[in-house]
Structures are given as C-alpha cells and as structure tokens.
Amino acid sequence: MHDETERDDETVTEQMTDLQTLETTLLAEIGAATDEAALEAVRVSALGKKGSVSERLKMLGGMSPGERQQMGPAINGLKQRVTDALSDRRATLRDAAIAARLETERVDVSLPVRQAPAERGRIHPISQVIDEIAAIFGDLGFDIAEGPDIETDYYNFTALNFPVGHPAREMHDTFFFPPDASGERKVLRTHTSPVQIRTMEAKKPPIRIVIPGKTYRQDSDATHSPMFHQLEGLVIDRTANVANMKWVLTEFCKAFFEVPSLNMRFRPSYFPFTEPSLEVDIQCDRSKPGEVRFGEGSDWMEILGCGMVHPNVLRFGGLDPDEYQGFAWGMGIDRIATLKYGMPDLRDYFSADVRWLSHYGFRPLDMPTLFGGLST
C-alpha cells in the first residue's frame, strides 16, 4: 500500500509537469494565432476529439482514485483556462478585424453635402413683407382685399374725388391704354385706392381692410420704379376717427419695425380722397452710414399718407357721410421693405438677379408670425 502510494505520487508529479508544459505550449499557440482559422486549429489540437487536453481527460478514467482526485481538477482547470484563452483571443481577433475593416471604410467627411432645396430657395422681400403686414393686420381683425391692376378712370380717379383736369391727376404720371370705342381710356392703377371703392360697393360697413398690390407710375430712377407696391388701408364704421387712425398706424409701425416704442409725427397734408389729410413721419436715427434705426434718434422719415375718407369718396362708394365715417392710408411696400431690410436701390427689386435674391430674399420656411416674431 505504501509502495503504491509512493508510485502514485511519483506519477502525479510527472503528469503535473506534463500538464504545465502542455498549458504553456497551448497558451503560446493561442497567443500566436493571427486569425480565426489558426485559432480554430489550436482549439482542435487541444479540445477536439483527439486533442491534447481531451486525450488527457480521457485518461482520468484509468487512474487510481488517488491520482484522479489530484489530476481531475488539474486537467479540468487546464481545459477551462484554454477555453477562456481561446475565447479572449477570438474576441481580440474579431475586434482587430472590425477595426481593420473600418479603417478601410474611412471617408473625408469635410466633403460638402448637397444643399437641400429648401436652403437654396428664396421668397422675394416684397412677398415676405406683405406676409408680415398681413400677420399684423390680421391680428387687428383686418381682411386682405385685392383688385385689378388695369382700372377704369372712374375707379382710379373720379370716384376718389380727383376732378377731371385737376393738377392732382397730373401728379400721378399715369400709364394709359388706348381709348375704346366710347373714347374711355383704361389706366394702370396709380395707387391701390380704387379697391376702397370696389370694397364699399361690395359690402356694407363695418369695413376693416388692407390692400396690398402692384401700382404703376410713369417714373423711373433710384427711388422711383414704374412698377411698385402699395399697401392701402381702409376702416369705415360709425365712429372711426383720427385718434383711432393714429393708434392703428402707430401700433402697425411698432410691430412692423419690431421696436418697443416709436415716435410718430402726424402733420397735415393734402390728398384728394381724404379730408382731413395727414402725412406721417417716423422717428429714426440715420447717423450711421448705411443703417437706419427706428424708434431712436432725432430724425424724421416720411413713411405714409393718411386721412379721414373724404365725404365725396364715401358718397361714390354708396355711403352716407353723415352716417358712416372712417380713415384710409397708403404706404409703399417696397419703401418700408427697404427701410427695414436696407436694400440700396429700388430697381434691383425687379431685376431677378439671383445674387440679390439669395442675399435679400427669405428662406421658404421663415413664415412671419406675430407670436414667433416677424423676422425671427
């Protein structure tokens, strides 16, 4: 018994040394495997059916209980460590392979992307400013009215209290069309005011409208264009007076120029279709070249004409001036757009130069609202 035990001890010692050697060899081989295939070969040589570790496991069955008790944990420990080493090495190899592939897929992200069409497209400043105006007056409960560019003399002049032959007609530099069979000549409307009459004919007061639109005068230089845009306003009810007009126009100018306060100067003037008539200047600072700031400074800039609707105009519109009253105003859309956004030459508005449109135009999704701010 003693001899057996001694022999067992010797055998175990030998086998332990053998296992150590095998482990060292296998771990070295695993570490040396540079791809999946080599690693798999190591796995088969160790853990495959006839692998070195598997063979040793099989030998456990033939061992004495004493031997087995010592060698069992040792061989199983070896199997576990080899398995773990294989798994670790596999993960390392896979990471390296992915990293290598990703490296080949590298691109130059500084290359430009295609611009989205919505970033290239532009809304013309005139359309944008009309939308701004509509947002403000819509909030004040005004409708937007429109009318034809080609007008009769009646709507453009007579019904607006421009007597035939009156010098005020002359001041309008009117474009005419050839006389028709009855000798009547149509005109290109010189202002948006004809829509006042057309509106009065179409509906009874209360009337609260603004009328944006194209107007035409035979005049051309840096500040006059033969075609331009006007904004007309008309309020008719039983009480609207100059005090209300001052309020509406002051509120409009503050909202449009997006300033918290703005001094305005109303001074008497003359227009055939209003009585009393006023011209309006707004406070501004023009001390910095190329820049106008509103609501500051000590300069005045003329911005619009207005007045109480002339009794004759109310009569032409079918209304009794003792029953109804109201006010009207007109201003240049191109002009207030210029004042707000600073385009230097009115003629560029109509030249469709893409450099100008791209610079002064507005992004398609910049929809003016009051709650979001007209110009963001």
């Binding site: 611009q115 497209g121 290109l188 033969p226 007076n241 100059v242």
Partner: protein
C-alpha cells in the same frame, strides 16, 4: 414755394425763432422742405486792403496787407486785377469753407510768399457769376463786421413743399396769415390802398373767351424810367432763385411771391390797338419771353392785339411786347384765368412758370384789383410815372361759399375735444366768417380758399391750427373672440404656391407686368387693348399674357452674368383682357442649365443633369398640390401651347375642360426669338382655376384600416407600341383590382431592336396589400392574370418573354 425770413416778417410780427417758425409751418401743413440759414456766409468779414505790392515772382499777383478788424494786418496773395490799397472787400481767414470754389482755405505759400486768407469775389461767395475782380465795397463799410450781415445777405431762405390745395400759401402774406392763426405772431401789411388814376385807360379790353377768363384788370402808367430794381428787391428775388431783370419785371415777380398774385406788364409802345382775350387759332404762333416759339391751338387762351398774340394767358408773356430799359409807358395786367385751362396749356406746351403754378391752383379773385394797385404803387415808387384809372372787364365780384358747420364735427372726425367757440375763433383767424353762434354755424369761406367745400374741410382747418399733435391715439375696439380665418382661398393658395416652389429650390422673382410686344405675341398676347399708350420704354409696352417670357428673360440675364444654373418662379397676375376678370392669378417657374431640385452643377458625388420636361412637370404638380388641386384626379396630356416643344410638354387638366396648367421644354423657335439659350424648361399653373373647396368641409379624415397582412410587390414587363403612354399601362394594371392594388410604379423603360420596330418595354412594380387574409399562390396567380389581361386589353401590351 420759397421765401426769406425777413420777407415773412414784413407780414408777421413775431419774436419766434427760425426753428420755431419752421417747426410750426410743418405742423400746420406747410411742410418745410429745406432751410438755408446762410450760416456758410458768417465767417466772411469786411476787411480793408492797407497796402498792395507787386508779387516779387509773379506779374499778375499782388501781395496785400489786409486789416480784418482783429489783430495785426494779415498778408494775402491776390490775383484780382482790382486789388489795390484802400479797397474794402470780403475776407476769408484760413479754415473758412469757400462755397464758390468748394475749398476750405489753409495757410498757403504762393510762389514763395505766404498767404493767410483770401479776398473773395462774388462768385466765390455764390452771390452772382461776377468774377472779374474781388468784391469792392463802399469805403465806409465797417471793417471787422460779418460781410453778410452788413450786406443783408444773411436772410435765411425757407422752402416749403406746398400741397396743391393751398393757392393762398403761394404768397408770403398767406403763409404769414396761417402762422398768425396758429399763434406765432400778428399779421400785418394786409391793407392795400388804391392808387387814384388820371383818366381812363386808353387801351380797351374785350373778353371773347369768357369761360376761360372770368375777369381782367388793366391800367397804364405813363412816363416810367425802367432800370435796375433796388438792392433789397433784387436780394429777395435772388434769394428765392429768381434773376432780377429790370424794375418793371421784378415788380411783377415780387407781387407774385408776396401775394400769390401773378401779373404781366406790356410795353405800351409795342401794343397795337386794343387787347382781346380769345382762344388761339389753330397753328397760331407766339414767341414767348423764354425766346422759344410755341404753336398754339384753340384750347389755348391768349391775349392778342393788332399784332397778333401778345401773351399766353396765365402761363407766359410774349417776347414782342415785353418791357425793357427803353420802356416809358407800361400796361399792367392783372387777370383771372380758368385753372384747368391754364394747367392744360402749361402741360401741353411744356411751360412751367410761377404764374402757371398759381393760376392752376386758383388765384384769389378778390386780389385781382388790389394786386394791380400794389403793383402800380411799386411802379410809381421805383420807376415814377403817372397811372390812369383801372379798366376792369368781366369781373362779376366774388360770392363767398357758405358751409354749414356743426362744430361737433371736429370731435366726430378727429377725436379732438375743441370747444365750438375755439373752432370758430380759429376759422376767424384764418379769414373765415362764421355767421352767428350755436351748434351749427354757417361759415363764409374766404375768396383765397377755393379748396374748402364742406364741413370736413373746416374740420381740417381747426385740426391743423389747433394742433394734430394734441390728438391722443385711441385704441380701436379690441377682440371679443379668437380671430376667424382672415385670408381668402385665393390668397392662401398664392402664399402656399410661393412657399412650395421656394422649398423646391427656386427663387421668387418679381418681374415687370409689361413686356416687349414681341414677347407678348410669342406667348399668346399682344392685344391692342393691352398695349400701353405711353410706355416708359419701348420694350415695356404690352401687359404680359404669361409670366414665362419675363422669367425666361430673367434667367438669361443671370446666365449672361455668369450664373447659368438658375431656378426662378413668380406668383402674380397675367392679363387676358383689360377687365378685372381678365387678370389671372398664375404661378410659373423656369429652370435653366442644371438647376434641378436635387441640386445643380458639378458635385463630387455626381454631376447634375440638364433640366428637362420632367423637372417642369414636378414643379407644376407641386404647385398645384400646394393650391389644393386634387392631384390624383388630374390628367396629363402630351403637348401644350405653341411656345413649348410639342413632344416635350404637357397640359394638366381636371376633367375634359378645365386646364390647370402647362409645362415643358421650350420650342427652339421661341428660344431663338427671345434670343435666349437653354437648356430651359418651365411651367405655368392657373391658381384661380383650381376648384374652390367645399363650403363646409368636414375636418375628419377618411378612416384608415391598417391591414395586419404583409404587403408584397410583384414586377411585370410589358411590350407595347411606342405611342402607348405609361399612364395607360399603370391605369390598366391598377384597374385589375382596385382594392388589393395600392400602387403601380414604372421602374424601367427600354427600347431596342430586340423588341421589334416601334415597340418599347415598360416594367412596372405592383404593390399589393392583402386585406382579409394572406394571399395564396393561387390568389397571386389569378391577380397576375387579371393584370396581364387588363393591360393587354387596354393597351395591346404583351408580357415580355
């Protein structure tokens, strides 16, 4: 209208400063356009030349020692021929800006001699064109005093921008009256005493054209000496930009500006016989005072004598009978002329004069005779002579207008709370005459205010004098509820179309409504009723029948500037005829070069292709969709109007009749005629032709049932005749089962010899969504058979083998 401060003060006794006066003028409706306070003349002082030696190195220069009234004498090098010891003139020290030569002086050295200032000529001070020598003042002119003050040249000049309704303010007196009414001083110098005359005026006047001449006054002054007018008058006339001529002419100009009363003077020796006021004969000619000859017509009113036309009434006198230094007997005319007729004549003949300016606004009839008296007095004062009595013809006197004025009207129209008595006081100060008191007062309108017709005019008078600035802004009634929808359907569509096209990478242009006649004709326009009689330029003559020619031209202009790839659109009006209904609301766009929606020009990831018919089609459909058109119900037919390529254009219809738009590439002949180059495509849709939505649409969307069964796709390729349109094939396939087939897409087109002559292959992908159960192989087989049969029946297509 220009005047000087001293002139105003002839008629207005006031302590107000220049600034106060200007501020008030603007606030009562006489807008001050400019003020020249003559501050630029202040640095020039009266100085005396003590000695004048020849310049050591220049024959024509002299070295002056000048006493400027302060400090030691100053050395000045001067080239004026009249520079001499003892001369008293106007001196400018270094640092002074000299307006006539646009130079700010500095200490200089002229040919080695230092010069510390300048003795000035009249031209250098912009007083006249005189530059033969330096200013030579009387020896007693006070040395050291500002020259302008001593010479009364520092009178500030005020220019007001006069509105056409205020003839009374075309004279300084009328302006003073307004300021006095506004509380800025006391009016004075109003009364004009008549000048008695000796015997009747020997020249008689007949008025043939009574409708054009409601009054004529004439008187002769014998034995005048006509020379230069006095300095004070010349200075005032020069200050307001008038050139002094001679005393008689200057007097007429002076009264024109002092009282707004134009006059005319005839040299009696040159007038033959009596005067007649009549219409000109057709072709009659007159040489006017501007030395130009005018051809007249019967619409023109003239004053004629035995020689013919002597004057164009109310506009300009004739050269022949004008007054000069030799005039000894002068006929002074003060007449009334029909304002509309004067305006018309002035316009037709292209004559702008101070007389026309006043007559076309309406001259005070009651100033006709007093104006003549004032002129007579001035003639006698300045030129001597003895006047005859005044001959007055045709004047029936002035019957004042009476306006019934409820004083509460001021509050009703302006919101100003002005007591009735104050309103009437203001009117009285302006020369109106209220009759009596009470809530409603009859007010007589003064003869100088032809613009005042009704009570609203009186409200304006009260408002402007009381003070517009006193009207406090008053809010209008606020909202009682959330705002309803404001924009109309058309307005919403217009806005939506703009944004939809801009989102597609296009830039919005605003082009002229008038285009060249040739362009209009190419695009179906050119009707005579749409041609302007007076275009601003020959190539802006016709109202556009389409937005396309303007956009095509704009695209080409950009290309000519180096921007070949442009996408432009416009949403605006076109004109079918001259009625309101003939003005259409159209959205149109053009793309040029490679300006495609996806991108343009060269790109590292792939260059953009040239634009073509399908870019235009996509734009047109996008715009229509934005306008609310039922895009899935539209038909697209090949071909469009003449300006398109017939095989690369389309017409979009809703039903058989309603045309909603057209699109395509342009006809090469049209491009040639427009002198533009492609690639170019465009579209136009009629925003106003899209049917209105239902009056009361439901907001509930149709119910959507999401099928739990997998959707599948099946491909088919059909060989069809080349003329068969893809849409016919997709429609036929779709019709095979409207419930199961949710979409048909063309994914390939192929033409080749292998298919046979005149054939093409169309490959379609059919999307199938089972609804009730998963489809079996047999179900698919049956569906595929129906698709093939349907396509075969409707297009003749056969499944490609």
């Amino acid at each position: 209208m220009k005047f000087t401060l001293s002139w105003l003060k002839d008629h207005l006794d006031t302590d107000a400063s220049l600034d106060e006066i200007c501020e008030r003028l603007t606030m009562i409706g006489l807008e001050v356009e400019s003020v020249d306070d003559k501050a630029g003349l202040k640095p020039f002082v009266i100085a005396k030349v003590l000695s004048a030696e020849k310049h050591p190195d220049a024959d024509k220069l002299r070295v002056l020692m000048v006493d400027t009234g302060s400090g030691d004498p100053v050395q000045v090098v001067c080239g004026a021929p009249n520079a001499r010891a003892g001369l008293v003139g106007a001196f400018a020290a270094p640092g002074t800006y000299v307006p006539g030569i646009d130079v700010t002086l500095s200490v200089g050295t002229i040919r080695g001699v230092e010069s510390r200032g300048m003795m000035c000529s009249e031209r250098e001070l912009q007083l006249s064109d005189e530059h033969d020598g330096i200013i030579d003042l009387p020896g007693d002119a006070p040395v050291g005093t500002p020259f302008a003050t001593w010479a009364k040249l520092d009178d500030p000049v005020i220019e007001i921008n006069l509105t056409p309704n205020r003839p009374d303010a075309t004279g300084v007196y009328g302006i003073a009256r307004d300021l006095a009414a506004a509380g800025l001083g006391t009016l004075r110098g109003g009364a004009i005493d008549p000048v008695p005359g000796d015997g009747p005026c020997p020249v008689k006047v007949t008025i043939d054209a009574r409708d054009l001449c409601p009054g004529f006054a004439l008187r002769l002054v014998r034995g005048v000496r006509n020379g230069a007018s006095p300095k004070w008058m010349q200075q005032r006339l020069l200050a307001i930009g008038l050139r002094p001529i001679n005393a008689l002419v200057d007097i007429t100009n002076y009264v024109t500006f002092d009282r707004g009363r134009p006059l005319h003077v005839f040299d009696a020796a040159k007038v033959k016989g009596d005067l007649v006021v009549r219409r000109a004969e057709a072709g009659e000619k007159v040489l006017a005072l501007d030395t130009r000859e005018y051809e007249l017509n019967p619409e023109v009113c003239v004053i004629a004598d035995g020689n013919g036309v002597e004057s164009i009434a109310g506009v300009m006198g004739g050269e022949h009978s004008g007054c000069d230094e030799t005039t000894t007997d002068v006929l002074i005319e003060s007449a009334l002329w029909n304002p509309l007729n004067v305006a018309r004549t002035g316009r037709e003949l292209g004559i702008i004069t101070d007389a026309r300016y006043r007559f076309e606004r309406g001259v005070d009839p009651e100033m006709m005779v007093p104006g003549l008296e004032l002129a007579t007095r001035l003639v006698m004062e300045l030129c001597g002579g003895a006047p005859t009595e005044t001959e007055v013809v045709g004047y029936a006197g002035h019957e004042p207008k009476i306006v019934s004025f409820p004083t509460a009207e001021v509050a009703r129209l302006t919101g100003l709370d002005v007591p009735g008595a104050e309103s009437l006081s203001i009117l009285t100060r302006l020369g109106f005459e209220p009759k009596g008191t009470g809530d409603v007062v009859d007010v007589a309108v003064p003869s100088w205010r032809p613009d005042v017709d009704g009570k609203a005019d009186l409200v304006e008078e009260v408002m402007r004098i009381h003070g517009v600035e006193k009207i406090a802004p008053q809010a209008m009634t606020g909202h009682e509820a959330v705002n309803r929808k404001i924009l109309t359907v058309l307005q919403n569509r217009t806005r939506a179309a703009r944004r939809a096209l801009a989102v597609r990478g296009m830039m919005e242009a605003v082009t002229w409504s008038f285009i060249p006649a040739k362009h209009a004709e190419l695009f179906g326009g050119g009707a005579p009723e749409l041609k302007l009689s007076n275009p601003i330029a020959a190539d802006m003559s016709d109202m556009r029948p389409s937005l396309l020619p303007g956009l095509v031209a704009a695209a080409q202009r950009n290309a000519d500037r180096g921007f070949a790839d442009v996408a432009l659109f416009e949403v605006s009006g076109t004109y079918e005829n001259d009625t309101p209904e003939g003005q259409r609301r159209v959205a149109a766009g053009v793309r040029r070069g490679t300006a495609r929606m996806e991108g343009q020009g060269r790109h590292w990831a792939g260059n953009a292709a040239s634009v073509g018919v399908f870019d235009a089609k996509a734009d047109a459909l996008a715009a229509l969709e934005a306008c609310g058109a039922p895009v899935d119900k539209l038909q697209v037919e090949t071909g469009g109007p003449d300006w398109y390529h017939p095989g690369r254009s389309g017409t979009i219809k809703l039903g058989p009749k309603v045309v909603l738009g057209t699109f395509g590439e342009f006809h090469p002949k049209v491009l040639e005629a427009l002198d533009v180059s492609g690639p170019l495509c465009g579209f136009e849709i009629y925003v106003d032709a899209v049917p209105e939505p239902k009056a009361k649409p439901t907001r509930t969307k149709p119910r959507l049932d999401l099928s739990p069964f997998q959707a599948v796709r099946r491909d088919f390729a059909f060989v069809v005749d080349r003329a068969v349109e893809a849409a016919q094939v997709t429609r036929a396939a779709q019709a095979a089962d409207k419930k199961l087939i949710t979409g048909v897409r063309v994914f390939d087109i192929f033409e080749g010899a292998s298919l046979g002559e005149g054939k093409k292959s169309l490959a379609i992908e059919v999307a199938i969504q089972p609804v009730e159960h998963t489809l079996t192989d047999e179900d698919f087989e049956a569906l595929a058979t129906r698709i093939v049969e349907n396509v075969g029946k409707q297009t003749g297509g056969v499944l490609r083998g």
